[in-house]
């Protein structure tokens, strides 16, 4: 809360806006230590995209080891040791420890420093206040604190690559006691070691998410424009609202678990250390009495809501873009809203389906199996409503729409292949195989990431006043789509053949089984997958160039280039400090496309309802509009 807000009385908003223009902020306050939601959103977005690229690079390195185990990586392999340290890739050959670091950090970076900051923090910050007609977030300083906590957390995670022993190596789940004893003992700094820094970095990332979530929920509850009732909110706002609740309530239990693991490592406690733990042939000097299962429960209590944190914002983005480019109202708006709410609730009671192998007992398994299958219902409702929204529309296939439509079947594959994993008996076989990798990557890679790309292309004109290049957007889209499928489809087959997800040698031994899928053994499939992964890396280059080039040189567009209906398109592009020229008022629902009897095929939310419209509505069959 700014002390100056105490002066807030009933000023004329326009006059207020004019006052603000008088004192221009300095460069540092405007671009670095900004409290403006748009700038913070852009900061989050850029940082998140950089982390996404970095996390992807880690995976491209791993793909070399999987396809050509034990062989020296040409060119790059020679200079990587200078960067990451001599023990990572001696003579260009990857060590097992480095491979483990790459795997753990790929997961951590992609989820917590890539997708969450972009999907939730960047789009949420930039778009939500504009869509609800608010001048800013409720707590701008808290918002800035959230970003800086994220930045510190990111830096700590990156530093962990350069300490002796390298970054965390126990998987992104950091299962104990493996994680609690790794990077520990002689040769390691008790504090500056990979796993401990991973934990410390996480505390900052969690703090950032909590501050952000509080801000988002408060903003949506308190700062909706006049007339913008709950059922007039754009679907994207609903998705962000539920996401914020997931972060708010699911992250703290993980934070408590992180604190406990930190205590286990730094203060030699035994929260997660069982009695009689023997490491390297000697009994550990610990009290014991801890529970490894406790970590798994607390981790997955976050871990499962987290996957909905990853997917719900993408749902929201895709919903906006589908309605806009099919020139039709989103079909089943109410069902969509209630489905998102139900997902939000159910996501808190499904976590133990990640733990079928721990032997929790049939009663517990039956409960979580039931809830897991229940949660597929609202997901299917959402996807079906999206598909039906396309029916009978006059669809414009611009770049955002391409990504949004590709999202639908990709998410469909990811979702449907999750159902066998929901069944205890099937999962006992598939657990920890490449099948699982393929399943959740179909949801977050061609699913969420395509949603995010769609959103970037869609809202880029609002942030810059310029549109990204359509042609290069398509050059980005088609290779990405093909590569995604070449990467992840064969993984289902590898997984069903029984290949384990954490093998350092790529499952070379699997060739001995003599089992072939379309002429290639499970191990040999690694080669085309890896080449597809590297090709997908190349396919991102047009996007990167297009993104930065269009900021200055893109085609100039008006305030509403997509002819959309929601409130953010009534603001100037880019919106000034305080966002709107006049305080917006909403008179209608978010997706009033193709209203009959109108000159234009879109009616914006701030256009008053004409007297004749009411009578016409009664006679013309219209989908439910609130």
């Amino acid at each position: 809360m700014d002390a100056s807000t105490s002066l807030a009385t009933h000023h004329d908003p326009q006059q207020q806006g004019a006052e603000h223009e008088h004192h221009e902020l300095g460069w540092w306050r405007k671009y670095i230590f900004s409290t403006d939601h748009k700038m913070i959103g852009i900061q989050y977005g850029l940082c998140g995209l950089v982390f996404l690229l970095f996390g992807f690079c880690l995976m491209m390195l791993m793909r070399w080891q999987l396809a050509y185990p034990g062989q020296a990586l040409p060119v790059i392999g020679r200079w990587l040791p200078y960067f990451f340290g001599p023990n990572t890739m001696p003579d260009g050959k990857m060590t097992p420890e480095f491979y483990n670091s790459l795997g753990a950090m790929h997961g951590t970076i992609m989820i917590f420093m890539g997708v969450v900051p972009v999907a939730f923090a960047a789009f949420g910050n930039f778009v939500v206040p504009l869509q609800i007609g608010a001048p800013d977030m409720t707590f701008p300083k808290v918002n800035a604190a959230s970003f800086w906590a994220f930045a510190v957390g990111g830096v700590v995670m990156l530093i962990s690559f350069f300490v002796p022993g390298g970054a965390a190596q126990s998987g992104w789940t950091s299962y104990v006691p493996l994680a609690a004893i790794s990077n520990r003992g002689p040769g390691y700094n008790p504090f500056f070691n990979g796993q401990t820094l991973w934990l410390v970095g996480f505390i900052f990332l969690i703090t950032s998410s909590l501050l952000g979530a509080i801000n988002f929920i408060t903003t949506i509850i308190q700062l909706r424009a006049k007339g913008l009732t709950w059922m007039r909110l754009p679907f994207f706002v609903w998705a962000q609202f539920v996401t914020a609740f997931l972060l708010l309530l699911a992250f703290p239990p993980l934070e408590s678990a992180i604190i406990m693991q930190l205590m286990d490592r730094v203060a030699a406690t035994s929260f997660f250390m069982p009695s009689g733990l023997i490491v390297n042939g000697t009994m550990m000097n610990i009290s014991g009495g801890g529970s490894p299962l406790l970590w798994q429960h607390l981790f997955w209590f976050l871990g499962h809501p987290e996957v909905y944190v990853l997917i719900l914002p993408a749902f929201g983005i895709v919903g906006e873009i589908l309605a806009n480019n099919s020139r039709k109202p989103l079909w089943g708006y109410k069902s969509l809203v209630f489905s998102v709410l139900v997902i939000g609730f159910l996501s808190f009671v499904v976590w133990a389906h990640h733990m079928w192998l721990t032997g929790m007992g049939t009663t517990v398994s039956a409960f979580f199996q039931t809830t897991t299958l229940l949660i597929s219902i609202p997901s299917v409702i959402i996807l079906s409503a999206f598909f039906i929204s396309l029916w009978g529309g006059s669809i414009r296939f611009n770049v955002p729409m391409l990504f949004a439509t590709a999202f639908l079947p990709m998410f469909g594959i990811g979702g449907l292949t999750g159902i066998p994993l929901a069944f205890n008996s099937a999962d006992l076989y598939l657990h920890d195989t490449y099948y699982v990798i393929a399943h959740f990557h179909y949801i977050v890679a061609p699913g969420t990431l395509f949603g995010l790309f769609a959103g970037i292309y869609y809202w880029f004109p609002k942030a810059t006043g310029r549109r990204m290049n359509e042609f290069w957007g398509k050059v980005h889209f088609w290779p990405s789509l093909i590569c995604m499928n070449v990467i992840f489809l064969p993984m289902f087959l590898q997984g069903m053949a029984g290949m384990h997800r954490r093998w350092y040698d790529g499952g070379q031994g699997w060739t001995l089984s003599g089992e072939h899928i379309w002429g290639l053994s499970g191990f040999q499939w690694n080669t085309p997958i890896s080449w597809a992964a590297w090709s997908m890396g190349l396919a991102q280059i047009p996007f990167i160039i297009n993104f930065f080039w269009s900021i200055k040189h893109g085609e100039k567009v008006n305030d509403n280039p997509w002819e959309a209906t929601t409130l953010e398109w009534t603001a100037p592009s880019p919106p000034p400090h305080g966002n709107f020229v006049t305080t917006p008022v909403a008179y209608r629902g978010p997706y009033e496309y193709s209203l009959p009897g109108r000159d234009r095929d879109f009616t914006m939310q701030n256009e008053p309802v004409e007297p004749t419209e009411r009578t016409r509505r009664k006679t013309v069959e219209q989908p439910a509009l609130v």
Binding site: S6, I217, T218, L223, T269, F271, I286
Partner: protein, 291 residues
């Protein structure tokens, strides 16, 4: 445009922004401490008979601290009420009382309770050697009384060097009353008042000891959760005290003169936080001191 509803309420929700924010924050705090308390339950249910210690904490001091914290919750409400009645002088005194309560609580915790534990020593005896130390453990008596077995000999360590020096073969311990006189029925239950270690010295051979440490977080699952939860709670108390000091300093007087309602709102929001911190202690106290 200014951000609306920072001080006045939004008509349809009836709330100003920070009040929504603080309740959401408290919801997340409940989940944070909920995670730690569920860990406590998990570990305690998993503990074998005799592993979970009882009566190691000083109950009267804990009770006093509980009372102090509850008192501070009252004074912070009175401070807020004084602001609402625009009586700054009264506000100032009530706020000072709240701050002092928080400081006393922390001082007791950090200067008395924790260090006393750090200076205490305990040695878990190997199962095969339990018989040898029967005079200190009184397990036959415990079994007759239906009490859980006693596995640890505790007290004041005389030769601290023994902890790290492998050449010293035994620990010299001035025994706690329960080990000094294990068959005394008065020792069957934990004492309400703190009883210092006796003059009776026991020599415990290292080869008979499974694990011997001071009462640090590493000592047992019990002390691990005790120090972690009270530590995190203490950090919350410290945070509250610092914010209250800010609101008590002259800088807030100026805010009061500009807009008293704004300061009252701030005090209300922080008061809610303070009540939450108080409430966490209401759970901590019985879980660690009494049960």
């Amino acid at each position: 445009m200014e951000i609306p509803y920072t001080i006045s309420t939004r008509p349809d929700t009836g709330l100003w922004n920070a009040k929504v924010g603080i309740w959401l924050f408290l919801a997340s705090e409940i989940m944070l401490f909920g995670g730690l308390f569920s860990a406590y339950i998990f570990l305690r249910l998993d503990a074998h008979p005799g592993e979970w210690p009882h009566g190691l904490l000083n109950v009267p001091v804990g009770t006093m601290n509980t009372a102090i914290l509850i008192m501070s919750s009252v004074t912070v409400v009175l401070a807020w009420a004084a602001l609402k009645m625009r009586r700054y002088r009264a506000y100032w005194w009530y706020m000072l009382a709240t701050i002092l309560c928080g400081v006393i609580f922390l001082t007791v915790k950090l200067v008395y309770e924790w260090p006393q534990k750090f200076e205490h020593f305990g040695a878990y005896i190997k199962p095969e050697a339990l018989e040898k130390y029967e005079p200190y453990l009184g397990n036959k008596h415990a079994a007759d009384r239906g009490l859980p077995p006693r596995l640890e000999i505790s007290g004041h360590l005389h030769n601290h060097a023994a902890l790290n020096d492998p050449n010293i073969k035994e620990y010299e311990v001035a025994l706690d009353p329960v080990n000094a006189d294990p068959t005394n029925p008065a020792m069957d239950r934990p004492h309400f008042f703190y009883v210092p270690p006796t003059d009776k010295i026991a020599k415990i051979e290292k080869k008979d000891v499974e694990r011997a440490t001071m009462f640090l977080p590493t000592h047992s699952a019990y002390f691990a959760s005790y120090f972690t939860i009270t530590g995190l709670h203490g950090m919350h108390v410290l945070g509250g005290v610092l914010v209250f000091i800010y609101m008590w300093l002259p800088v807030s007087k100026r805010l009061y003169q500009r807009n008293p309602e704004h300061l009252a709102n701030r005090v209300e929001v922080c008061g809610l936080f303070w009540h939450f911190v108080d409430l966490v202690w209401i759970f901590v106290f019985p879980l660690f001191y009494l049960l």
